[in-house]
Symmetry: C2
Subunit: 365 residues, 2 copies
Amino acid sequence: MDNNDFFEGQEKLLEVWFKPPNSTITPGKHPHRDDAQGLRAIPRARVEGILDEAKCCILDAFHGDFMDSYVLSESSLFITAYRIILKTCGTTRLLPALPLIVQAAADVGLTEIDDMFFSRREFIAPHTQEFPHRDFREEVAYLDQYFDGVAYPLGRLNGDRWYLYTLNNQLHITCPDVTVEIMMTSLDRTAMNAFYKSTLTAREVTQQSGIADIVPGAHIHEFLFDPCGYSCNAVFGEFYFTIHVTPQEEFSYVSFETDVLKEDYTPMILKVLDIFKPGKFSINVFANEHAPFGNAQNAFNIQQVQGAGFQRHDQQLCCLAHASVLFGHFTSNTHTAIEDAEQHQRRQRVPGYKALVATPPPAAA
Amino acid sequence: MDNNDFFEGQEKLLEVWFKPPNSTITPGKHPHRDDAQGLRAIPRARVEGILDEAKCCILDAFHGDFMDSYVLSESSLFITAYRIILKTCGTTRLLPALPLIVQAAADVGLTEIDDMFFSRREFIAPHTQEFPHRDFREEVAYLDQYFDGVAYPLGRLNGDRWYLYTLNNQLHITCPDVTVEIMMTSLDRTAMNAFYKSTLTAREVTQQSGIADIVPGAHIHEFLFDPCGYSCNAVFGEFYFTIHVTPQEEFSYVSFETDVLKEDYTPMILKVLDIFKPGKFSINVFANEHAPFGNAQNAFNIQQVQGAGFQRHDQQLCCLAHASVLFGHFTSNTHTAIEDAEQHQRRQRVPGYKALVATPPPAAA
């Protein structure tokens, strides 16, 4: 792999909920179906200043009934009345933008944070990141300056893992709130070929890839990068989904994220897996205490995912004070065969436990 | 706290299962109810050599029908036909003893490891530990030399957490296997006074503290340290429990661990909490796929634990290939009030998120 060509597709994700002025809370009403301007009143120039700090910029914008959606040079931004979601990939500096977000919110009258979530998967190349993103401990120390939050590493220390920092507060909402993220790697080459610049327009890529069919009727705006790479945001009522594709074989990565409310996410997950055909993927589900299916491990049917040709290697359920979070890691049956062969080779190389027999214990480093 | 007096009560725990010779596996039969000598044929001098390497020694021994039980200068050792459990506290070097264990097992004809588990809670004073125990990453690197295992950090990065390394294999047993550990801190002073050297014998401490009532009829052997500290091992048929008490106020710690099989661990857990009255405790439950209650989160009733005056702060369920592991962290209602006050003070000291407003982002370190 040529390091000059390397691109870190895996995103840093920040979601901040501001407390609505009391008068606007209606029990049972979805907080994103609010006619109030709230954060949407932040002027475009301020939004661009926030993105400057994070080292990215706006490529395309869509203003829906309840949401402003921006496709960025590195991923996406969604602004609803009381919630901002900023997702940035590459070597962007996401967290240093947080103080600017809070300042801009205060300037439109939103001075209290209800809760915040910062999460990311372990980077492919952590050493290419800048402060404070060089290590999750560094990110936690940065956030602990301002917040009294909780930090969870989920997954394996010596394998795929995902990090979450949250205030662990109870949001001032009485309706379900769910976020599902699928983070895919080792993707099928034929599936990835669609995301290289060709004679097709970005819109045609959205249609021909099957992305347009994930949520029929959603307003999708997209960007096809040169020579390759693809981003889209979809807005449908108060909900969104967003997809980012880094198709290069050496570090292929696709992310799918949505906050759409469903009783069963299995069909949507299978649809996404069918479009991109990952060799491996992580999934995480955040579900608040009002979610219709109970805790996050009931959001989808694992047997159906296995039936679609994937093996589960890891699953962890983390109970928060008023929500639960699931982390799962899966490998396709094809890729499992490859990994088994690699493991066999690795076991040939390393002495294995049999070498413990008649081997003196290693001395201190 | 005088660092010279400090003692790290929190143990490192190693459990190694060796594959029995094929002829001795009887489906449904508990593997520890085996008349075979297996590991119990390892000569005492070899056992002492293993403990020398770990930097601890035998204080007391009991030889039961199915198990050899040793109370150590730093915690405990249990040897059944095919399983060895070595638990050591202080600044012992547990993992360097592993090659000697494997060698000794090979010399009595047990040459295959079925599975192994290494676990510990985050140390109170990690900097006092020696190689390879200075950091979980170091421990994982040590184990990865020999094994192709999985390493999980459970709990909070910025709070109480527990680490597990396992081969994630399917044990060659067809019966339930469960381990429950309760790791208690900030313990009640009156409860702890019982574990200082006085006119009472160690046996009287076992009886008067209530420890003798946890499993009526268990054979208990114990040691009372001078000037304080207490250890006991209990053996009942093929099962054990073990308790270790570090009573000093500045770093009080008590651990309880058992492999007894129950359909509901709630009464036993409440009994242990009632004896030691912790301000805080972590609990972890390992349950294999044959456990009568299903996965590890069903091992006890959380409402009853909350009813006994404890609040749950964390709960994570980790699914292994053929087992599940629960990690939970609880604080007593009294201690929660203290922690809330400390949090309030901390929030006064740190700028808090409101300082994000009109504060420039910190520069790189």
